[in-house]
């Protein structure tokens, strides 16, 4: 039973480390900020969640310490990390960072232009 627990923990930690390395490769090699945020927010989240699950099982089965803070940390990371990625890429788009030249379609552009015109109509100019 102890051996199975150790194998499961090592497997979870290894998956976490592999996804961590994939994150770094993606951040270093992908061409623009949107693809980099895509790599960072997804695989870093999955990697750290798997690693924290392994650490949680280690403390639970080998040390007899049920850590609620680790479970809360896993849930919190799962909720907030994609929101952070969304906010960062939206800030990048709104501040005018160009996507890579391989990009084919940009559906957001028309929506943003419409939104700008709409908000210019609604705010008075005499500020």
């Amino acid at each position: 039973m102890d051996l199975i627990a150790d194998i499961l923990i090592v497997l979870l930690v290894t998956v976490g480390i592999i996804f961590t390395i994939v994150t770094v490769i993606g951040i270093l090699r992908l061409p623009d900020v949107y693809t980099r945020a895509h790599a960072a927010s997804k695989s870093a989240t999955l990697g750290v969640m798997s690693l924290l699950l392994g650490v949680f099982l280690h403390f639970w089965w080998n040390e007899g310490h049920f850590s609620v803070a680790l479970l809360l940390g896993i849930v919190f990371l799962f909720i907030t990390s994609p929101i952070g990625g969304h906010l960062m890429t939206r800030a990048a788009y709104m501040s005018g960072v160009k996507p890579t030249e391989l990009t084919v379609a940009d559906d957001l552009k028309e929506a943003v232009i419409e939104l700008r015109i709409e908000s210019d109509k609604n705010t008075p100019d005499d500020e």
């Binding site: 961590t20 951040i27 870093a44 924290l52 850590s67 919190f76 990371l77 960062m88």
Partner: protein
């Protein structure tokens, strides 16, 4: 077993160095923001591995704290990039 966790820790720290290269080089500000957010995540995994290596569960509260602080920093900085101010003025002040 300790050797395995030490190797994992070294790999995580090397990944942090790779992300810091992107922070140093990144052509735009959001690039650096994305890389720094990932550095926060790597810091969480490094602390989790440290708490296994030192055989103590007392570091685990720091994990939750770093997660919350990193999220607040990301939200406020991306709001600053997008709008130019973090806490906006109300309409009737």
């Amino acid at each position: 077993m300790n050797v395995f966790y030490s190797v994992c820790l070294v790999l995580v720290i090397l990944s942090m160095l790779g992300l810091l290269y992107r922070v140093w080089k990144g052509p735009s500000v959001p690039d650096r923001l994305v890389a720094l957010d990932a550095v926060g995540v790597m810091l969480i995994s490094a602390i989790a591995l440290f708490s296994i290596l030192f055989d103590t569960p007392f570091f685990i509260d720091a994990i939750l704290l770093i997660a919350i602080m990193s999220f607040i920093g990301t939200v406020s900085f991306s709001k600053f990039i997008e709008r130019g101010e973090i806490i906006e003025r109300g309409p009737n002040r």
